[in-house]
Amino acid sequence: MTQDPNARAQIEPTEVGANAAETGDRQLTAEGSPETPDAYGSHEISIQDLDFATLAEQGHTATKLDPLAPAVLSVDNLKMYFPVKSSGVVRRTIGHVQAVDGISFEVPKGGSLGLVGESGCGKSTTGRLITRLYKPTGGSMMFQGHDLAKLSSREMKPLRRDVQMIFQDPYTSLNPRHTVGTIVGAALEVHKIVPKNKVLPRVQELLEIVGLNPEHYNRYPNEFSGGQRQRIGIARALTLNPKVLVADEPVSALDVSIQAQVVNLLQDIQTEFDVSFLFIAHDLAIVRHFCPEVAVMYLGKIVEIGDRETIYGRPHHPYTQALLSAVPDVKQAAIGGRRERIRLEGDVPSPINPPSGCRFRTRCQFAQEICAKVEPPLLQIGPRHKAACHFAGELGSHPATPVTTQLLGVDDQGSPVAGATPTNTQLTIPGYEETWYDLKTKQTTGG
């Protein structure tokens, strides 16, 4: 509450409103509205005055990395275990789904961290933990001096406005019986941030920011198209001036041509309001565009994290390499045929009983004995790059012997070496160190 006036000042429609009013799609919806309630099908829209150059200017290039941005959210060793009950007369807990198992990362202020991985890897659970839809089993989530993981629901309430979520499905995440105004304004009334008579102007302002016609506040979600509904979801998330937005597959339910509109809108919002994003998606290309930093998850763990150029250009973890090689590429049309890719055998193992040591080893072509015995630490191997692999290396140049033995005090087979002292104290910090472990020299280096 103390930050309230401040926060509201931030979102005054100075430049923002004006900007939003000029964007192409903003005009569309405004002019397409008059007679047809069927917002989806209105073709009265006219963009005759919009030429390609103007449109192109509104399209954004990939978000740039700000290496100096401080962390707004710092997640350390976060865990979420869901109990599995037996099916007998008495339901005992017979195991745990280790949905998220000890992950650490930082979300930079005003930046975005992408979270990628296949279904069941725990990326959506992570998003739900950060918005505290679940209470974590362990670990900490530091945000503005509070550990979100430890707060009770009541203590969490004032902080909820700062951490908001955008959901995947714009069809089910909006209550069909409420008007857009009610949906977007609900949080204002719950948190009693503005006096009752100011709710509507604020709602209209938000609708304008996300490129909807502010006069449509009294319409129902079913009168909007999928892309427009996702805009409503974004407006709802923005209502309380959040500091962090968790976007869980925000565009994957939308048509291709609409996806870009929404991604551009999210980029606009990020720059205007300095919001940090945790961007969860399975579409590696969208994540690459939106997030200067990316974490790759597999079976509840982060296997590789780093800046965009490293993760997409020089991935060191075999899983990241396999994942990237599997993405179909439009440019392949010029060459013809399929892209060469790394084939992964089998399915993802059960998170109830994950493989020992490295969780990826059962599907990894480089796996050796050590991988089953010792879990590879998420080791910093570059200025902004960490990978959790005993054989970390660029594609085609994975080392023949494990690179982690010295640090872990084990031999090449993963058995402990007598008298060796493991030196892995810095392995799980959320951010990056000044120094890192150089794979070639096997020494800690810096700068």
Binding site: G24, D25, L28, D38, A39, Y40, G41, S42, H43, I45, S46, I47, Q48, D51, F52, T54, L55, A56, G59, H60, T61, A62, E118, S119, S225, G227, Q228, D255, V256, S257, I258, Q259, A260, Q261, V263, N264, L284, A285, I286, R288, H289, Y312, A322, L323, A326, V327, P328, D329, V330, K331, Q332, A333, A334, G336, G337, R338, R339, R343, L344, D347
Partner: protein, 367 residues
Amino acid sequence: MTSVPMTQSSAAERDAAEGPYLQVEDLKVTFPTQDGPVTAVSGLTYSVEKGKTLGIVGESGSGKSVSSMAVMGLHDAKSAQISGSIRVGGTEVVGLSESKMRGLRGNSMAMIFQDALAALHPFYKIGGQLEEAYLVHHSSASKRDARRKAIEMLDRVGIPQPDRRVDDFPHQFSGGMRQRAMIAMGLINDPSLLIADEPTTALDVTVQAQILDLLQDLQREFNSAVIIITHDLGVIAEMADDVLVMYAGRCVEYGTCKQILVAPEMPYTWGLLSSIPDVTASTDARLIPIPGNPPSLLRPPSGCSFHPRCVHSDKVPGDLCRTELPALLPASSGTAHLKRCHLADPLQIYRTEVLPEIAPELVEETR
């Protein structure tokens, strides 16, 4: 195209001599509704040869699924009016009796669907559903034959322990395995035409790659004509020989995969290309959306259906885009490449205006 090395088989040569396996001509599908007739597909013409893959691209409501369902005869005769011609292996299926159509469906042509969990019956075992598909077209086969065939097909599509998994229910399979089972069911009668409607949309990338591999392997093995319907241009680029871009029920661009994705001549195709990021593209590439929303088919726009969303119509003199539907005419890159656009030199515009924004690294190469 080089992607599918089909030509070594003599069967393929013979088929090629007979002409395309599927020929669609001037297809029109109209649904009468309370608000008036909705023309979901109009004037659609394309063909697919055996061993070749046609990719159909478009947004929801573009008519890509409706047209394929018309080929399969899956529209309810009471609610859909279909005109034009669809020839499958020489047989005209528009107006064909339901019983004759039933003999073709699942037999010489099969379809696999996007959401395998919904598309498989939740109450019947995987094996039972496969056997049923086999038995309906092999009336003399015994239940045991059908079961053997089902296990064989599950094995063929790479399901481990097929003799055990055949007795599983769909919900016991993982997403990728369900889609494999769906493909096994589609191919159980060795169809010459396979229509895959968004076959990998709900799947993870590594699973998607496996399924696409499988489809290609099977196509090679059975020498079938394949149609892949998708909105993912990456999948199209890797799988299709020919590409058909649909918008508002019409074909707006048609050509080889390379022509469509490397030298597109229709602003809608440009829009699709510019509104998706790419894992290998330059980070200076801009993401440029197509403004607005897909049109209502109930009241389609006048002239070119795409004109209300087109940012290049200012380069066309007068009111042409608004008043006159452009014909599907040969493009500059070859006679097999057709486009529906009034722009005088679209390729020039694409290369000098669009490409520098969406793929600056490619500009040098194409000059």
